[in-house]
């Protein structure tokens, strides 16, 4: 950023147009159109002078807030702060602020985010929503608020202008299950919470077990946190035949599972191996370190921000939703 901000008047003088023209063009006015060479002259002059729009004035005049919201289902799960940080990294480069909203994967709170978005407080919402369906976002898109959902599979939203960024969670859970099978495990129990990523992760596990001629064994709990992992694993260990591996639907649950397994006097991975999902910070520093699925949450956040900014600043209004797949990677560590 230059030490002194160039003014619109200076841009107008260099571009040889009126200050009103500069104001309309740099303010992204959608009500006025200008000849291509005028646009070019103004943008070139603005770049040359290092013009930066006054963000407050811009918000007031163009109804743009220069703010993106990042909506997460559990700010206490380190996966999501890492995602928020990625969104912020990319958004800040473009002069956007990022605010984070936590829903605790509660349907009412998710709807409140919509209401909140309808009040014109943000230009775009990037989020992981557990409860809301695509059609519920329609009022937001009609109010010209950008919407990008981070999903666990390619969800088509029809003609709605809702973007979709996803890691193929069926494929990722399949890869995680295969990893355990390749290490000789046959009795693999999956523990998971309800909603959110559960369906696709359970599906990948289930299919892979059946294809290998094995019986899937899924224990569903209400939450996706450490406590849920503890409860599920206690149940698992009460059964007559214990599994040789536990595949947890996320790392927090895996950490809960590890503590129960250890407290019961079993060794990890020799007696019971544990596989997680997410690759949160703690996964790496545990002993034994947790084998898991990396979803590159920081990159995911950055790409989400880029797609959102492109929709907000480059794409024609109501461009139908775009779908983009993001990579995952199996992290081989010591727990499985």
């Amino acid at each position: 950023m230059p030490s002194r901000r160039a003014t619109q008047r200076e841009v107008a003088r260099l571009a040889n147009v009126s200050q009103t023209t500069v104001s309309l063009i740099l303010g992204n006015s959608t009500t006025q159109s200008f000849p291509g060479d005028t646009l070019e002259r103004v943008f070139r002059a603005a770049r040359e002078l290092g013009y930066m729009p006054n963000r407050l004035a811009q918000a007031l005049k163009t109804q743009r807030t220069m703010t993106l919201a990042c909506v997460v289902p559990d700010i206490g799960n380190p996966f999501y702060p890492a995602l928020v940080r990625g969104v912020q990294l990319a958004a800040e480069d473009a002069g956007y602020d990022v605010i984070a909203l936590n829903t605790q994967s509660d349907a009412d709170r998710e709807r409140r985010v919509l209401e909140w978005g309808m009040q014109g407080r943000v230009d775009g919402i990037i989020g992981v929503f557990f409860a809301l369906r695509a059609t519920e976002f329609e009022p937001l898109t009609r109010a010209n608020v950008g919407v990008l959902r981070i999903e666990t599979s390619a969800k088509k939203s029809g003609p709605l202008p809702i973007d979709n960024l996803f890691v193929d969670n069926v494929a990722a859970a399949t890869a995680a299950t295969r990893y355990l099978l390749e290490r000789g495990h046959r009795r693999i129990t999956m523990i998971t919470g309800t909603g959110g990523p559960q369906d696709n992760r359970a599906l990948g596990y289930q299919r892979t077990m059946l294809e290998a001629g094995l019986v899937p064994d899924i224990l569903v709990n209400s939450g996706f946190d450490e406590e849920a992992g503890i409860q599920a694993t206690r149940e698992v260990l009460l059964r007559p035949e214990r599994p040789s591996a536990i595949f947890a639907a996320n790392d927090l649950m895996a950490i809960g599972a590890m503590s129960v397994i250890r407290d019961a006097g079993y060794r990890i991975p020799d007696d019971i191996a544990v596989m997680g999902f997410d690759d949160i910070f703690a996964a790496r520093v545990l002993t034994p370190a947790l084998s898991t699925v990396n979803q590159f949450q920081n990159v995911l956040g950055q790409v989400a921000a880029h797609m959102m900014l492109q929709r907000l600043t480059e794409l024609p209004e109501n461009t139908p939703g775009r779908h983009r797949e993001m990579p995952f990677e199996i992290m081989r560590r010591q727990s499985a």
Copy 2:
């Protein structure tokens, strides 16, 4: 919440006043005053009918946004998401939304939060600020935005209406250092980042060492994250005489220290003990579990929200800043 919202018209009828009067009173108008018995009648009627203000309309009419911002210096440090969650828990009970803003402890980003707050987007800002001094918040308080700072000591802000919630970090670092001394350690090295909580934590350590007739040994790094802990500890281990204990200024740095100590072939705590600060989630699940200082971040967030809501809804405008001390606790675990 009742299943159907009572309207202001119904409240007016029961209170026997005009709908305009109800609108002004329940909208917390600051421009009109009413006789005490009128206020009483309206509030009683509203309570009886279970009237809940329409949040959107309220924001538009009274300039109230029913939103609090929680500003944190590092959303990637699990201490802060836990704080945000605490703020949200208490704020939601009162019908307020909470948004989180991450500054990465950068002075420019902290100032941007002020600018952002001046735009009337939130009713109050609860935050941990590393760079800004109390006087820099004055414009915000004049714009009637509530400000509560979470600090590491009792910082008086003079007559400014800025609230201050703090854990006495000098006392906490003193207690942590004493804990190590009581366990027989004499060569204790402190590793820390720059700014933020550094001053008070280093001060507590330094004083306690001197009082015990020992030489303080502080290694200052630029950051407060795992990487900073790794770098500092590598330096420590290169010296001719290694310490018997490392006191890290926060848990992330302690986790970095533990990995370096282990990689160098030393045992924790037998060869080198490690003490942290914060009691983040990972501290408990590490092997050995990390001895640290619990600041009860979730409670801290809840109390911060309560103090802010009281300022916003009960206290006379410009009530001078209040100061409240919060507790800490030494968590005895296996690493020290």
